[in-house]
């Protein structure tokens, strides 16, 4: 069983992403912002973060940095999903420690494939 944590302040986006990446062999966790994500993640096993950039309280960049600084979470891959496609945002995401950067609207198949590639499984039945 792999755990994916979807971090986004918009409920519809979370639901959409959840629907996309859900498989019988995956647990999906949700968080509305960075702070919540960190609180939930510590103490649990998380295998992948799907992180939105613009969020209240703690944005995606900051969250990413925190994950990398946290010894327990450090090894967890982070995929950032943003509405901005500008290169400098991708650049900044990578600087903060993201492993991959995707732009909204996310291509459904692409997201599924990427998640599958990163944590395995996810054959689409």
């Amino acid at each position: 069983m792999k755990t994916v944590m979807i971090v986004d302040d918009a409920t519809t986006v979370r639901m959409f992403h959840k629907k996309l990446v859900s498989t019988p062999d995956r647990i999906i966790e949700e968080a509305e912002n960075g702070v919540e994500a960190l609180e939930k993640a510590i103490g649990t096993q998380v295998d992948l973060f799907l992180v939105d950039v613009n969020m209240p309280k703690m944005d995606g960049y900051r969250l990413c940095k925190e994950i990398r600084r946290n010894e327990a979470l450090r090894a967890v891959p982070v995929i950032m999903i943003s509405t901005e496609s500008a290169n400098q945002d991708a650049e900044r995401a990578y600087q903060c420690g993201a492993n991959y950067y995707m732009t909204k609207p996310v291509d459904a198949d692409m997201l599924k494939s990427v998640v599958s590639a990163v944590i395995g499984g996810g054959a689409n039945e």
Partner: protein, 904 residues
Amino acid sequence: MSELLDVFIGESRENLESASQELLEIQSSGSSSERVDKIFRDLHTIKGSSDLFDIKPLTRLAHAAEDLLDSVRANEVAFSDDIGELLLEALDQISIWFDELEVGSQDLEQWQPISTNLGAKLRYFIDPDASDGAGIKNEASPTSTVSLDDKFLTDEQIDLLASFSENADIKLLCQVEGPYCYLVRYTPDEGCFFRGEDPINVLLALPGLKAFNIDMPELNHDADIYNCVTSIEALGCADEDAIKQHMAYYEGQYTVTVFSSQALRASCVSKIIDNVAQIADQTLSDALADNNLEQVNASAGLLLASQDIGDAHCDDAKRATLQFLSAASELDFLRGPESSSVAETAESANESIGQSNDAVVGTDDTANVSVLGNADEDAPLESNAKPSDISARPEKILAPHEKAILTQQLTLLNSDNYKSEFMFPSISGLVGNILGETFSDEGTLALAICNALDDETINEQADETLKQQSAEDMSAVATQTTDTPEKAGNNTESNALNSTNESAQPVKAERQAVKMLKVDQAKIDYLMDIVGELTVAKNSLPYLAKQAEEEGGSRKLSKQIKAHFSIVNRLTESLQSAVLQIRMVPVSHVFQRYPRLVRDLARKLDKKIELFLQGEDTEFDKNLIESLSEPLIHLLRNSIDHGIESPAERLAAGKSEMGRIDLIATPLDDSVIIEIRDDGKGIDPTKIKLLAFQKGVISEAQLESLDDNEALQLVFAAGFSTSEQVSDLSGRGVGMDAVKTMVSQAGGTIEMHSEVGVGTTFKLLLPQTMSVNRVMMFEVSDQMFGVGMDAVVETVKVPTSDIQRIRNEHVLVIREKLIPLCNLRDALGFDEAEEKEEHSILVVSAPQGEFGLIIDKFHEGIDVIQKPLEGVLAGYAQFSGTALLGDGRVLLIINVQEVLAKCL
């Protein structure tokens, strides 16, 4: 030596000559685009033809020279004297090679370094940075704009390839090598045959050629078969630069499209699968109609599988291929031994694609293939092999998004902000997930990513395996994959061959449009001989007529023979002049060699000399002009060496620095006057006289009596050289006397005029043709002799008493003009004749004036073909040649000048 090579060398020598002539023109009067063009074309012809004989060093040198000229032509390189010098050197080298080729003593090994060296020098001018004057190969960065990452061919590219037949697909798939493939569409210029180009050969020599198509339009029966109306498409593996280099001389006649090999391969596979899908579709509907459930299942599976591949497109092409294969083999299994077309197709496709994928997947049986086919569920692949061990590691087939992720991780690893402690865990974990490996440090991690991303390794491995498969296997596979097995296989090849033959035909055929005919000179000479004999045979008719009248007593017969003779005579004369016309060539034929000679010698001597040619159009018998080439060279050398002063001397003498030599040919009746005039220091007659005396050429008495003009002619005396210092140019033992002998043998005369400080002129008077002469026959001591009619002034019979004696010489006064007499009996070494009351005297003109020859009896004038004296007789200068008479007797033709020289 082959006949073809002979022709090639003959032709190329002409090209060389014309090229060096143009080069000299450029050096003397500046560069012009037409001249550069001309030289370029000449070298191009040489290069093109030499290619046919596989004379690599020569071809390469000509190629280099041609490239340089091309750059000059395109105004990329300015023509300089250095370039001209170097090109001349190259031309000389090629000429030397031709000499060796002609005698068959060529040693290509030895040529190699010379060619490389000269070639590099030439190329240095094109691009000084590229070659450093050494290596020939210009290592320009590839200009190819094709991305190696192209997964599939674009539709346009597929359209381009459409002309290559379907069965070529698998063959191609198996043969593709290297990162790039090309498609060349070559539409040769219509007149290419006339330039000696062979489009097929050009194409066959393309680097990495795999297949080609020839498009031959339907020819109407009135089409001109000498025009090349073909277009050819060739497919092969090489990068664009290589193609451009190869096709450089057909600029504008070809287009080249370059694809990535990977894309071509992928397109081939998908094309094959499309074919299979079509068949599966067909079988499916058949099976449905037949209610054959098993077959419906199988066909549907096959169809679905092939559609899957189509949908997956580039994403999972290889994986889907394997799925398809497993389905195909399942079908085969279901259908049992009596397999029909679908199974066969699947089987053969299985073989071909399976084999090509084996290299990638590292498996070799279908069972494994099918497991891998479902790799989505089981992935990632487990492996214990070390990531660095590429060959042992089963290659993971990466989807594009996986590649994208991996690429990103690699970027992260290499980024400036990378901090190992923060980033390594997530990256290594992520990469590990994708590749199915674990990593302990950045090094192995980066290496693993690189390896996984490096498509080249995959391709190369695939290529290796593909190459190992024999060509027979390939064509067999190709045969099976198509609907019409009997047409497949060698189809492409045989098509190509047929077309090759067809389009090569016009090249071999006789060229109507060519107006000049090149004939072996020996043939013309033979014709000339026959005409000569005919002339002689014709001359016997009057004898016959005379005989008929005198002995047969038949005036009627005699008249008839004479009438007949006039007809034969007229025809023979026409024939004769026609043959002579064939042999007439403009003197430029010989003259054109001289500018080079003068230039070279002048440079050697540090003199500045310009040669001016005049009357080059004057026509001359080829044999004659060629026999004159040597003496003329000698005279020119003399002028350059002894005549023209050094620039300093010239300036001191108030002349321009630049010396001038004129070479002038002027036609005069049946003769040609050739003058060599220099504006050098001239010859001092006194000096000549003294020298002649010192050398024992003249006696003390002559030293007194000779006038200036006579003194000058002494230079023609045997063993005379005016230069106090023997230079390496002239004075090599062949003196002016040799020149004089050669000129006399050609039936000509030579004289010299000179004025100290102003210059020297040699004047040669030569008969225009060597062969046909009208001679006046006469008898001395019962022996027939002839003298050229043009020398005869008049014939007189005078009583012995009219002959007077002045000092030791006999003279005759005709019309108050004193004419020295020469007794031919003495001159020719016959016994003294008994005293006669009347003498026959033949008055002839010579350069020195008019003279009378005392002979025995006059005969008529006659046309003869004069042949030069050969063997031991050649030493007798008093005879210029022989001719056969109609009754078979030999006529000796005297050389008036020589005879007079003996006489007086």
